[in-house]
């Protein structure tokens, strides 16, 4: 872990240090409040209103994406924390793209709806867990327990010989410095902002330029691996 900055150097002047410490604590307390207030969008309602379609409608839903973008405040976009690592992210999954397990205790299961998305739809700081909440890329699906489980044991019923592929490699630009392609399928994960912007995200996949809203202007999905080849025209 990169805590080397904390190593005691030559003894500093104590007074500015104390002042600074106080300021830092104030900052820590106020930041989550600012962030929470700043990022309070109900994407689902926006979506339902905009589309006049069942919220379950499956598409590469650009409207959802743009409305989340315009409702997300700059403060949230610039927010960051280093709590989440890619290793931790994958430890909750069975293969790249599988629904992650729930890694924390839950409030008593009351109602299939609402309890999860009351935090995971908007993000922000969760006092009880002392960390920023990751945001779901698909808040239109409200019955979270359908796919996300809390595990209560680590023992297996029978051993399994489970292997999956390697996680997608990061930063695979086609040319030096060119924007990398989207490394994962977009289904259920079309809303780039949810996972790549803000303080709840995994550090190594957080985007450095969150204010640029039209992500897919530069980053495109890699639908197939083969290169273009021209079909020979019919000779007739």
């Amino acid at each position: 872990m990169e805590t080397s900055d904390q190593k005691p150097g030559p003894k500093p002047d104590l007074k500015p240090g104390k002042l600074f410490f106080l300021f830092a604590i104030l900052g820590v307390i106020s930041l989550p409040i600012i962030v929470f207030l700043a990022f309070s969008v109900n994407t689902t309602q926006v979506l339902a209103k905009v589309n006049k379609l069942p919220a379950s409608d499956f598409d590469h839903n650009a409207k959802q994406f743009y409305s989340t973008y315009s409702q997300t405040t700059p403060a949230y976009m610039e927010g960051n924390s280093t709590a989440r690592t890619l290793n931790y992210y994958y430890s909750l999954r069975q293969y790249p793209g599988s629904p992650p397990v729930i890694p924390h205790d839950m409030v008593v299961e009351k109602g299939a709806e609402q309890t999860c998305i009351s935090c995971h739809e908007r993000g922000g700081f969760t006092q009880s867990m002392n960390r920023f909440t990751p945001v779901t890329p698909h808040p239109q699906h409200t019955y979270c327990g359908q796919c996300h489980m809390k595990t209560i044991t680590t023992k297996l019923f029978e051993d399994i010989d489970w292997v999956s592929v390697q996680p997608p490699k990061l930063g695979r630009s086609a040319l030096a410095g060119s924007p990398p392609p989207i490394a994962h399928p977009l289904q259920m994960r079309e809303n780039c902002i949810a996972c790549h912007v803000g303080p709840g995200t995994v550090v190594s996949i957080r985007v450095e330029h969150p204010m640029r809203g039209n992500c897919r202007q530069c980053h495109v999905p890699e639908e197939i691996k083969t290169l273009f080849t021209r079909t020979q025209p019919d000779k007739k």
Partner: protein, 771 residues
């Protein structure tokens, strides 16, 4: 050195994350899977229906190298539109349990010994031959399931009914949806729902009858929630005997006493008539009225026989019959307030509202299962809310091909792929397509499932071949049937993928290829047929169930009926089977179309699927553009006068609790597959008994206390769960049946619906003791 604000926050967050990680996830290794050499980009995606429930979600399975490594929802499949449940997302892991059967086993001197599969198939064929020679053709039997792929069930029916000449063909779908079948047949003359899942997007009101959809059909439940969210006025009413996740998500949950749904449905009809909400035009044109026998018994004794006798009556007789079911009288039976019954009737009766009713095991596993199916149809028929978008009485199935393989292929003792064995024209048709003499097909049905296991116990059946199901966990009154199957002189063949309590009692175990390890078809709840290709190699000597049947049939001299090559047999079987359904009422899509699409609904006529049957606007089999219930000779749907009758066993002084059994979201059926999927097992590692908090207090039981549950048939000890996911009312306990360590079916009762022969797993009397 100075510490900046940013650095301070960073280090604090890092430390707290590290502490949180170690305290919150003790023992979890920081890698969810073992990565192969192959990169993410090596994945090839192919469509298949999901292996688990009857919803029939379309999946895209990702294959890398020769292994299935990932799953996505299939956006082209209209069932789930790209969304799955947790079982579907992790379904491919079921292929890779380390205790998978990869070779056959034969019992020698009491031990199951690994044996080459060809030798095991020889033994199976010679055992069948000698049993038939010594004790006649009705001494051999096959017991399959709604997990059979369509060609499996078709080959079994042709082999046993057509070639050997015995009607000893049953499937565990008998335990699962037989009442839905007899309900459809008695009310409409043809099986399977008239509506489809599009009703979920169109209805204004959903009434679920004894049905915890949030856990049993989560993808359809989500679709219902999405409809409610996007429209705003949509209501979900949960009629139930136990409070569940579905109750919590519903707008209103109404608790009723077990079995009293019969009285509630009749009272709803009473109110609809009383308030002039009857759709007079529809009823006069499309409905006729009928009465059957009453006081029909419960089938708990061997050799129980019942045949209903119908009598034509009229609307006036129906009205008189309903006088016994005023909301106030129904309140006394059901415990549901007259006010709530009137409220339900008003929802069904409102001409502005489109109403869909859903049910599964609550209504089907019921000693009056056929009756309650009839009664809910009555409500929809009186109001004319049927066979049109959003108006739909709908029985959801539990198994992936209960409809496709059991209901459509007809793998039940009285059925043929088209029609029933009792009917000469049906036998003629089958004999012609199968290439067997007409005399081969026995016109008399033999045993339904419960009676088949009783016959095995008595020794009337000596040989049973069990494919893709686990009766030594699922049979009610289990001890009798397990002891019976283990008696001397019984020969049990089990086609399986993993060790189960059923394979434990086998004389021969045949290793099966599963799901995407072979080509096949499933048929889901909404008449949708779904094809899958073989996507990964079979492990070891594992063999497709269809091919196992073909191999044994050939060894018994039926090469002529089973001539197909290993390359094309699935396609050849499809082409032969669909000849049985070649009319506009049931035409199936051709093989080529099924390969291309993510499921096709039948009747498939002139390149078009039929969404709503019996409605001339959508169904090409109708006479004109009006409704036409062509399944019955009078072209009408039948309203049945069916009274309330009490259950086979009710709580009394000695056994004061109801026992209700069922499933949980994470585990499917007996858990022999889902328990081998790591996260599903880790989420729900064992079964438990749900007890109402006030009963728990009286018993002095807290969470995880050991409780002994006993009935007149048996007892088990298991841990208590209070205020868990579900909450039974006072005087009821609930036990999920997936866990082979706690065989709750040793406690349940083998009473069944006399018409459908489907047992009631939801009601028997037990006592509880703190251990």
């Amino acid at each position: 050195m100075t510490i900046t604000r940013r650095d301070f926050i960073r280090s604090m967050a890092l430390n707290s994350a590290a502490i949180a990680a170690t305290t919150m996830f003790p023992g979890i290794i920081f890698a969810g899977w073992k990565p192969s050499e192959l990169p993410a980009g090596s994945i090839q995606w192919s469509k298949t229906p999901c292996r688990f429930c009857g919803t029939g979600c379309g999946l895209l399975v990702g294959v890398s190298g020769e292994r299935a490594v990932a799953v996505k929802g299939d956006p082209n499949c209209s069932v789930n539109k790209g969304l799955c449940c947790v079982k579907g997302y992790h379904s491919v892991q079921v292929l890779y349990g380390k205790d998978r059967f990869k070779t056959a086993y034969v019992r020698r001197n009491g031990e199951l010994v690994p044996t080459p599969i060809e030798e095991a198939l020889d033994i199976v064929a010679s055992q069948m031959k000698s049993s038939i020679k010594e004790k006649g053709k009705d001494s051999v039997s096959i017991y399959g399931s709604g997990q059979w792929s369509i060609p499996d069930g078709y080959a079994a029916s042709k082999f046993f009914k057509g070639c050997i000449g015995t009607n000893n063909v049953e499937a565990n779908a008998r335990l699962c949806m037989a009442s839905a079948v007899t309900g459809c047949l008695t009310s409409f003359g043809l099986d399977e729902p008239m509506g489809c899942y599009e009703d979920i997007d169109n209805a204004d009101v959903f009434i679920t009858w004894g049905n915890n959809m949030a856990e049993m059909h989560p993808v359809l439940f989500s679709r219902m929630l999405a409809n409610r969210k996007s429209k705003g006025h949509v209501e979900i009413i949960d009629l139930t005997t136990r409070s569940t996740r579905s109750s919590l998500a519903a707008d209103k949950s109404i608790l009723f006493n077990p079995q009293s749904d019969l009285a509630i449905a009749n009272a709803i009809c009473y109110e609809i008539i009383k308030n002039n909400w009857v759709n007079q035009d529809f009823v006069s044109k499309h409905v006729s009225f009928h009465k059957g026998k009453t006081n029909i018994g419960y089938g708990t004794e061997d050799h129980f026989k019942f045949k209903d006798k119908q009598e034509n009556v009229d609307f006036e007789a129906f009205k008189t019959f309903l006088e016994d079911y005023t909301p106030e009288m129904a309140e006394k039976i059901s415990g549901v307030s007259a006010e709530n019954i009137k409220y339900l009737a008003a929802l069904y009766g409102d001409p502005q509202k489109k109403v869909t009713s859903f049910w599964t095991m609550g209504m089907n596993q019921h000693t009056r299962g056929t009756w309650i199916n009839n009664l809910v149809y009555n409500i929809h028929l009186l109001t004319g809310k049927i066979s049109s978008p959003g108006n739909s009485p709908f029985s959801l199935t539990g198994q992936p091909s209960a409809c496709g393989t059991v209901r459509e292929v007809g793998t039940l003792t009285h059925k043929l792929p088209h029609g029933v064995v009792m009917k000469e024209s049906s036998r003629k048709m089958a004999a012609k397509i199968w290439g067997v003499p007409e005399t081969n097909i026995d016109p008399k049905p033999t045993y339904h499932t419960v009676e088949m296991f009783r016959a095995l116990d008595r020794g009337d059946i000596n040989f049973m071949w069990i494919q893709v199901t686990n009766p030594m966990v699922t049979m009610p009154n289990l001890k009798r049937y397990r002891d019976g199957a283990k008696k001397d002189g019984r020969f049990i063949v089990v086609s399986e993928i993993y060790p189960t309590p059923t394979s434990d009692i086998a004389d021969v175990i045949l290793p099966s290829a599963l799901w995407i390890e072979r080509e096949g078809f499933f048929g889901n709840s909404e008449r949708r047929t779904q094809h899958n290709n073989q996507l990964v190699p079979k492990p070891g000597q594992a063999m497709c169930n269809t091919w196992q049947l073909i191999q044994v049939a050939r060894r018994m001299g039926f090469e002529k009926q089973f001539p197909w090559s290993q390359e094309t047999y699935i396609e050849d079987i499809w082409n032969e089977y669909t000849q049985f359904h070649d009319t506009p009422k049931h035409r199936m899509a051709p093989y080529k179309v099924l390969r291309e699409r993510s499921g096709v609904q039948w009747p498939y006529v002139e390149g078009k699927e039929t969404r709503w049957r019996y409605n001339g606007k959508y169904d090409p089999a109708c006479k004109d553009k009006d409704f036409d219930f062509y399944g019955k000779p009078d072209h009408k749907a039948w309203i049945w006068l069916r009274p309330y009758e009490p259950p086979a066993e009710s709580p009394d002084r000695e056994y004061p609790f109801w026992l209700n059994t069922g499933r949980v979201l994470e585990h499917w059926h007996t858990g022999s597959m889902t328990r081998r999927i790591p996260i599903l097992h880790k989420a729900v590692p064992e079964s438990y008994v749900e007890i109402n908090p006030s009963d728990a207090k009286t018993l002095g039981v807290v969470n995880n206390s050991k409780v002994k549950i006993s009935s007149r048939r048996g007892s088990i000890v298991m841990k208590a769960l209070i205020n868990g996911r579900g909450n039974p009312p006072e005087g009821m306990v609930f036990v999920p049946f997936f866990d082979e360590s706690y065989l709750i079916n040793e406690v349940t009762l083998d009473a069944f619906c006399p018409i459908s022969k489907q047992p009631d797993y939801k009601k028997c009397a037990v006592k509880l003791e703190k251990v």
